[in-house]
């Protein structure tokens, strides 16, 4: 039974949606064909996080990925080109909820909340990025649009590539 369910899923990709919940909050949702404990594990172990957080053909690689996943613990992701993401975990509830700060943005940084809800062996992931103000969210958008223009051209290629490889994996 399990085997049949799995083979169905490999031929079909789950959809990622983004919604602007309010003028300072973005919501991302995605379903995973796995129990919450497995999705949680992939978000909390650096050796696993490293494998998916930077899609390969973004042409960037992580130089360091430090994660101390517990309340008050710090994380730091370092890329080449002087890019760095860091912050602290505010809340860690095994298999259901992780909350952290994004401090590289200074006082305009958002707080990210990931919640996992398991139903029938699948997990619904909801990620909220809450900015301190509308201005902070807008600024993040402008900055991201400028900085990632080229990166996303590469990403588009990756998406085509992934789409092509999914059918046969």
């Amino acid at each position: 039974m399990g085997a049949r369910r799995e083979s169905e899923h490999t031929s079909m990709k789950n959809i990622t949606t983004v919604e602007k919940k309010s003028e300072r909050e973005l919501l991302v949702t995605r379903t995973f064909n796995a129990p919450a404990r497995i999705v949680f594990e992939a978000w909390t172990k650096p050796e696993l996080m490293k494998r998916w957080w930077v899609p390969k053909s973004m042409g960037m690689s992580l130089l360091a990925c430090e994660m101390d996943v517990r309340v008050g613990g710090k994380y730091r992701f370092v890329f080449g080109q002087g890019m760095e993401f860091f912050g602290r975990y505010i809340e860690v509830t095994p298999h259901s909820r992780i909350v952290w700060t994004n401090e590289e943005g200074g006082e305009n940084g958002s707080v990210t909340t990931v919640t996992l809800e398991e139903k029938g062996g699948k997990t619904l992931l909801v990620m909220s990025d809450l900015y301190p103000s509308k201005e902070a969210l807008d600024a993040a958008g402008t900055g991201a649009a400028d900085a990632t223009h080229e990166t996303f051209t590469q990403l588009d290629e990756l998406l085509v590539e992934l789409g092509a490889s999914v059918g046969r994996s």
């Binding site: 990709k13 990622t16 983004v18 991302v28 992931l125 807008d138 958008g141 402008t142 990756l158």
Partner: protein
């Protein structure tokens, strides 16, 4: 995905080169306002503010609508397109991450099955 012609870009840069006009855009990003409101807020004559709004409108950054005697200004289609383009890029980034995460998850599932779940608490 979203393409801008050079004429559009020129108009945008010209519109954004002025500190008052940038302020007006910021203001309208928060809430729509009448020309009278804007003139008062930026301590300017009605005629002066009309000119600024005209430049922003020409660049597609602001739209205006006259209801009765009041002309109301709000963020225009260009600005909204840019915002939507950003959100779409953000979505694509996460979609790509999650597609990679699927692979990690599948691997963990296989491993768990092999381990016979005996270690799980």
């Amino acid at each position: 995905m979203v393409q801008y012609t050079n004429t559009h870009l020129d108009a945008s840069f010209a519109a954004l080169s002025d500190v008052t006009r940038r302020g007006v855009l910021e203001q309208l990003g928060r809430a729509e306002a009448s020309i009278t409101d804007l003139a008062a807020k930026f301590d300017m004559t009605l005629t002066g503010m009309k000119k600024h709004v005209g430049v922003l409108e020409h660049a597609g950054l602001v739209t205006t609508e006259k209801i009765g005697r009041v002309r109301t200004c709000k963020i225009g289609p260009r600005r909204l397109e840019e915002e939507m383009a950003w959100i779409e890029k953000y979505r694509q980034l996460w979609a790509a991450r999650f597609d990679e995460l699927d692979k990690v998850v599948e691997e963990l599932k296989r491993k768990e099955k092999v381990d016979g779940r005996k270690k799980r608490k």
